[in-house]
Symmetry: C2
Subunit: 451 residues, 2 copies
Amino acid sequence: MHHMLDYGFRGKIYPINPRQPEIMGIKAYPGLEDIPGTVDYVIHLIGVNNAPDVLTQASHKGAKAMHILAGRAGETGRPEGKELEREILKYARESGIRVLGPNCLGVFCPKSGLAFGFDFPKEPGKVGALIQSGGNATDLIHISSLRGIRFSKVVSYGNALDINEADLLRYFTDDPETEIILSYVEGLRINGREYLELVREAASRKPVVICKGGRTKVGSRMTVSHTASLAGSVNLWETAIRQAGAVPVKNLDELVNMAVAFTFLPPIKGKNVGIVGAGGGRSVLSADEWEENGFNVPPLPRDIREELKRRGSQLWDWIDNPADVSIMIPGDPVTMPDVLSEIVKNPAFDFIAADAEEDPPFGKEPFIQHLTEDMMGYIKISRECQKPLLIIFDERSPGIKDMDSYIHRTRAELRTLLVKEGLGFFPSVSEAAKTIKELINYYQRREEIRH
Amino acid sequence: MHHMLDYGFRGKIYPINPRQPEIMGIKAYPGLEDIPGTVDYVIHLIGVNNAPDVLTQASHKGAKAMHILAGRAGETGRPEGKELEREILKYARESGIRVLGPNCLGVFCPKSGLAFGFDFPKEPGKVGALIQSGGNATDLIHISSLRGIRFSKVVSYGNALDINEADLLRYFTDDPETEIILSYVEGLRINGREYLELVREAASRKPVVICKGGRTKVGSRMTVSHTASLAGSVNLWETAIRQAGAVPVKNLDELVNMAVAFTFLPPIKGKNVGIVGAGGGRSVLSADEWEENGFNVPPLPRDIREELKRRGSQLWDWIDNPADVSIMIPGDPVTMPDVLSEIVKNPAFDFIAADAEEDPPFGKEPFIQHLTEDMMGYIKISRECQKPLLIIFDERSPGIKDMDSYIHRTRAELRTLLVKEGLGFFPSVSEAAKTIKELINYYQRREEIRH
């Protein structure tokens, strides 16, 4: 309730508490039956044991759905937990109320102001997510919102006793507010074939990214005690997800990276990358990582060199792809933004990876100026041209004093600017390369499915 | 000079400038020959063309070494650049002065206050680094200092015209202030067999971690224009480095992670990991990633369960490895630190991976309290026991407002605490698992080499 008020829930809230006349400034009722009129949605925050009783009461108030937060039901593996779930399901079916949970955080819906955690972004967005684990749902929202991702709805659905992956996949497939679907799933309540059919249907209409928890023997052992799920084989799962047209990922970071790619990048269809923005050593390692991930880093085409020469550059024969910024000569008629524009225009490149990271060693003012100018250049290019441009912007581990240093504050300001400008950034070259590889793979499969 | 003054260089500095009587408050001299007495070390910050002249002058002042910062020598690939390098080398040999560079940032030596960049940590440490690229050297120092790494010396050696990887490897092998050697190398000035012999000798005395730039076709094409180096085959290189007893890595992040592992962790010899600290979904994914990297995540041993039962825990049959913190019951006689202590004592586990990351969804005070208590618990355990304990502490991408939020400030404060307490932390489970895999591999190879 704290989160909902904090977040700005726009509907009416009726707290229920037999011992308090008021909760957080809102009139409380001793029981569900004491609330005047009807109730749409019941959030059940107390122990799971009396959920059957509350379901009966809720049905008398016309409720359509109930979210049971508490766990210690089927996932304990104990017979009494399983029995309790059977009973809850029986009451749900009898009352016609759809149950979300038990053992989950419920629904985050920015548009209606429903939130289950703190510090969630207020603006609605186009990413929908069905995330079996509440902790992973919270982490996903926190991590991805820093990268500019905004959500239509996020549903943490826990033990999936009643509302399960099938209901939610169908919902997000049809939801006009959702353009990209993310999912974390530990196990299935429906059979695999039916599930893959639903994934295929969803993926035929919007990008779908699925992170499977419990891929391994031990991971799968854990899902039993976490959400009482059964797990399958890793490779089978990955292959099946790909064949259904969705993107399989292995952890939350990959889930976030794919969300960033689908949100901020146009389709990327080829593997020729133009690399700009870093100094020598960083460029060399960047080229290595792109190539090791199956990309081509073509040499700077002859026509670009000729153009640079024509403009009187002293560097025309030396500059290459990656374009090493550290060799630029002050006063040369050709600047790095000029080189970048040429690369952007040239058909030899399918997309651009721009680095925002090299720490220029010359002190405060040049550091701020260099980083800011680079970023403004990238923003300008991304506005003017259709060629996909992604930015590498390392994450680091600042200590408390670093939080007030110009280095980390400048970086933070530029990240805010990138988010505002709708540019996608990735925390390392390896993560960028892995993500774009999956993105290209996705568009290729989609082409194949269509033809 | 700015960096040296800023950093607190303890020796005497003689700026040379024909047009200024004073530079940054220090008396300047029109030429090298005008400096009274002898000079130990010359830092050549102007264009590379007059380096031969300056070498002659330096030899008259008794200088032992000269660092040439500027590039545009051999690495341009142009005949005049190569000719210039031949000339510099000739003058160096004639004068008996050792030359560092050209095309490099030179020496960072905290003990003597010599620094080539801004914001470097002031305290000396036990990590030595020979980093061919100046940008990579700067990034390495910045990134790893946030993780608690401190350096004996870092040498950026660029084109390696005179002082090369062989000199530096020999130096760091013998240097009593260096206990761990890191290297970024683009190409070799000596032949491969000789190099591997030097690596083998170094690795027989201290851990050696080597990042090779220019592993791929394109990366290698780039090293030619960056430091005029020749590259070899990826797999050959990796295998050879491993056989020599060193650890090959692919990028700066991996270099930093290995430095953290060698600096803060005792030898890890087995693959059985105990996982604590995260909630359900995060635990499941963590278990998956450790297992996919070849680790065992053994189920909670029977004797631990029996002990928990004896102490009256309601969770004795439910809690497992990973130990899911979200299932803990307030008031249960067994707390998560109790479970952690049992795991630490138990021989079923070779090391512990502790998670510091789940965002508890309950608001400010619980967030701060939960994270801080977890970390204090890990610090206490790490002080009391010999079992290796590493911490997973995600990096994120805060925007400018986030820099002042309690979430990111609490995280930053805890990172500072961890560094102070000498605990190693890793930015993700996958990076931790990859790093520890290499660490175990390293100790195994060392055993094999010895027997």
